[in-house]
Every structure is written in structure tokens, then in C-alpha cells.
Symmetry: C2
Subunit: 251 residues, 2 copies
DNA sequence: ATCATCCATTCGTTGGTACAAATCCATCGA
DNA sequence: TCGATGGATTTGTACCAACGAATGGATGAT
């Protein structure tokens, strides 16, 4: 059996990884500078940078000029997707995201953009829209304590919501689901699809993602009593900030 | 407002990204060689490699000597976590993963390792194990059509399963959940936690992951009628091969 | 005391070179 | 016909050099 000699940069990367996982460098700690690592391992600066690039891609560290290479820390916000189907707590009815965030003592806010569009193929098919039919989309960029947190684009059949509050710009304090109810199309069943991938350029900018942060894509299709899709919500969740929880079965 | 000039390698990366997304290079297609890109954009090979490295980290392409840079294709296998709680289809009772895979006309297989261990802190706390209590873990590496597909490590309280089939090596054709039932500790409620991150080195090797592939971590804690945790299952799912689906609400 | 400025440090980008490793494919030999 | 061999191509690793950009912290001015 041939044992491949790991390349130099792999060796350096392994050593750094070990040091981080073993706690030699805790969250917030600065790794040795590139120059330091270069002389310590007796390799070129390029090789050091290759090694550190690995850790960046793994989401372990961040780099910035003069600040150095810093070990990241992460803390996730819990999401309970199924609670949106349950009756809201008594008192002020509240949109689900805002409610969850304020529960944790943090400050939610959002930017909303409302458009009428010809939806992309996958959205149209999930909404079961015929050929050229339009959809109203509420594109939201949500913030927690002023930092971009996630995006949520909700698509509704244009025919259904054109005359409602949903098609008009601005916040809907009580949540779009409440409006759907009032229109006689309450969601009584949902299908959630969850997967993950690396973000594209636009997402990196919009969500101010650091390198090495995957995103979880979370698509919820809501159906009314006639089993007609009335809402397709596409959320893009930076993986280091979100934990999705489902509770199934009887209590 | 200052408009930062994107660096050269960013420009090259953007151009390649655009070409891929627009379909100029479909899945399986080979991008121009580094030499070709170098002369076409009038930059150094270093710069070209930096650009392509971005696409690799985004999971868009793979590289190999002589094969070139190839556009990846992905096709996900659908998972229905909640089906494990429903009564199995009539006929041969079957472990959930094997059943789902064979349903798609593909060939499941797995390697199982059964150990009695002192579980890590997070597992112990989910299992609500006191201090030094042990757990039995069934570590599985699962394959589809001979390719590594995902891992599933299931932890059980040692006191509960020590005398059962679960603590013995080898396959349990009917699934561990069935054995728990027979022990009088059927799971009647589960809590699923889902998040994503970049894989660590061990996972890259074990699952033969390509660069730029995040993993979805999927943790299910199962409780019996007394609301005692009886099973903690930790699955690591390569993101490009898995789609998780939940269906909630009334039909 | 407070604020603006400057400098040194550290990572970021880009150029270059050389050789190694992997593998496709054509060619040759049995 | 089929398998072994070897050459050419393409990416992988490693080194060096130079300058750009960002910023923490010291210094100096008000």
C-alpha cells in the first residue's frame, strides 16, 4: 500500500487545524502571521497562504490585512418552521421571524421589496402556475441587531393576491399568512424542502457572508383547503447562524 | 461613492461563472485549460488558478490533472425523515435508508461498526445520560451503488440496549427502531435539528467529498412514551446529494 | 483631552519559473 | 485482438519577487 506523502501546505494546514480544534487557538484568537508560519515551517509564503486558504474554506478562520488570521466563532439562532402552522400566541399577532427573534431578546428588522414578476421555472412549477401567469413576490432581506441575517422571497399567485395587501409595498405587521386566511386561502398544509450549497456571488454580498460559509436553502410550499399552492417561500440561511428544528410525533 | 475595481482573478471568476450559469458550459463540460484562459485574459497562470479555485470552493467545478476543469452536476436523493415515524409499508419491514434508496432503483449497502463508548458531551446531554454512563453507538457508513453516500451514527443508552441485538455487531434487517419497540421503548416523538457546515478532514476522506461540498448535519433525538431519550442519530449528509423534505399539516 | 495624521505591519494581488503527478491516447508488441 | 508502454497534456505543488490595501497604534496638533 502506497502512502502518499501529504503536500507541504497540507501538512501546515493539518497542524493549524489540530491547534485550533485542541483549543490552542480559541474563538477570536489570532493565528501566527504568515511570516511567522513561513519561518517556523521553513516554507514559502505562498505555501503558507495555501494552507490558511484551506481553513478559510472550511469556515474555521477569517483573514484581514493587519488584523491577521482570526479563529471564527459561531452561534446559531433556532428556527421552528412548524410553528408557523400553529395558532400564534395570544396577544399581538406577529410575523413569525420577527416573533422568534424578539423572543431571543434581539432586534429584528427588514427591507421589503414587492414586485410582480414572471417567476422562474422552478417557482412556477411549485406554484403550479400555467405558462405565462404572473406571481407577486415579496423579497425580504432580514436583519438581526442591524446585521444581515437571511433572505426570504415569498411568491404568491398574482390572480389570488393582486387586490390584497400582499401586492402592496411595505410591512404587513400581522404577517402575509394572516392575509391569505382573510382571503379564504389559509395554508393548511406545507411541504418543506431543505438542502445546502455554497452561496453565489450575489448572496455573499447581500448577506455579507464570510468565505467558507455555506447557506441552507429552505423552500416552503403552502397549500390551501383545495390543495392549491398559495405561497412559495424561499429562504436563504447562512449556515453559521441558523439551526432548524422540527418536532414530530405526539407529546 | 468609491467603486472598488474587482481584482483580476475576480473578473476571470465572474466571467467563468456567467458562462456556466448561462449554459455555455453544461454539466460535464470541460472549461478551457489554464493555459487557454491565461492567454485569453492576458494574466498569469497564478491568477487563473485563483479564479478557478473560487469556482471549486463554490462547488461549481472539479479539477484533475489531464482531465481538466469539469462542470459538476448534482442530483439529490430525497429524504423523508418523518416517514420513519409512520408505520412501515406492509411486507418486509425494512430499515428506512435502505428502503428509500431501493425505491429509487439504486443499490444500498453499508458498513457497520458497533461500539460501547463514553459519549461526547453533546451526545450525552441529548441522551440525558448521567455523568459517566455509557452508550452503545452503531456507526454506519452508507453507500449507494458502491459510492459513499452518508454517515449515520446512532447512540443508545447502554443500560437500555446492552442485552439486545442493537449492542451486537452486524446488520439489523428490520431496523433498530423495531428492536426498540420490542424492548418496550418505541420512539413516539422525535426532535430533529438541522444545520450545515463545511466538512472536516475526516469527513472529506470518509465520504470522498469533493472540494466545495458542504455537509448537512442532521440530528434526530427519539423519545419513548415516558419522554426518555432512547436514540440520538447523527447523520452527516453531503449537501450535493441530499434533499430533506418534510410535509406538515393535514392532507 | 480629543482628533487628525502617519507609519509599520499584515494580508491581498499579480507576475514569474520549475518540476511533479496524473491520465488520456496513440503506438507497439505478443 | 488485446494488453503493455510511453509520450504529451493538463493540473498540482512549490518557490521567489514586488507592490497594493487596509488598519492598529503611535505620534503630534489643537
Amino acid at each position: 500500500m502506497k502512502v502518499a506523502r501529504p503536500s507541504l501546505y497540507q501538512q501546515v494546514a493539518s497542524e493549524l487545524r489540530r491547534a485550533i480544534y485542541s483549543g490552542d487557538y480559541g474563538p477570536g484568537a489570532q493565528l501566527p502571521t504568515e511570516e511567522e508560519l513561513r519561518s517556523r515551517h521553513g516554507v514559502s509564503r505562498n505555501t503558507v497562504r495555501l494552507a490558511v486558504a484551506e481553513l478559510v474554506n472550511e469556515g474555521l478562520v477569517t483573514r484581514a490585512p493587519r488584523r491577521g488570521t482570526i479563529v471564527r466563532e459561531r452561534r446559531a439562532l433556532l428556527m421552528h418552521p412548524q410553528r408557523e402552522l400553529e395558532p400564534q400566541p395570544t396577544g399581538v399577532p406577529r410575523e413569525a421571524f420577527a416573533y422568534a427573534v424578539s423572543q431571543e431578546g434581539r432586534q429584528p428588522s427588514q427591507l421589503i421589496e414587492v414586485l410582480t414578476v414572471k417567476p422562474a421555472e422552478d417557482i412556477a412549477s411549485r406554484l403550479e402556475l400555467d405558462d405565462g401567469k404572473l406571481a407577486v413576490v415579496r423579497r425580504r432581506l432580514r436583519f438581526v441587531d442591524g446585521q444581515p441575517y437571511n433572505t426570504n422571497d415569498s411568491y404568491f399567485p398574482h390572480d389570488l393576491v393582486a387586490e390584497s395587501e400582499i401586492a402592496r409595498p411595505g410591512d404587513i405587521g400581522r404577517g402575509a399568512n394572516r392575509v391569505l386566511e382573510e382571503l379564504g386561502h389559509a395554508q393548511i398544509r406545507v411541504v418543506d424542502d431543505i438542502w445546502a450549497r455554497m452561496p453565489n456571488q450575489a448572496e455573499v454580498e447581500r448577506l455579507q457572508l464570510e468565505l467558507g460559509t455555506p447557506v441552507v436553502v429552505y423552500v416552503r410550499v403552502g397549500y390551501d383547503r383545495e390543495d392549491t399552492p398559495v405561497r412559495v417561500a424561499v429562504s436563504v440561511l447562512p449556515a453559521d447562524k441558523h439551526l432548524i428544528r422540527y418536532e414530530l410525533g405526539s407529546r
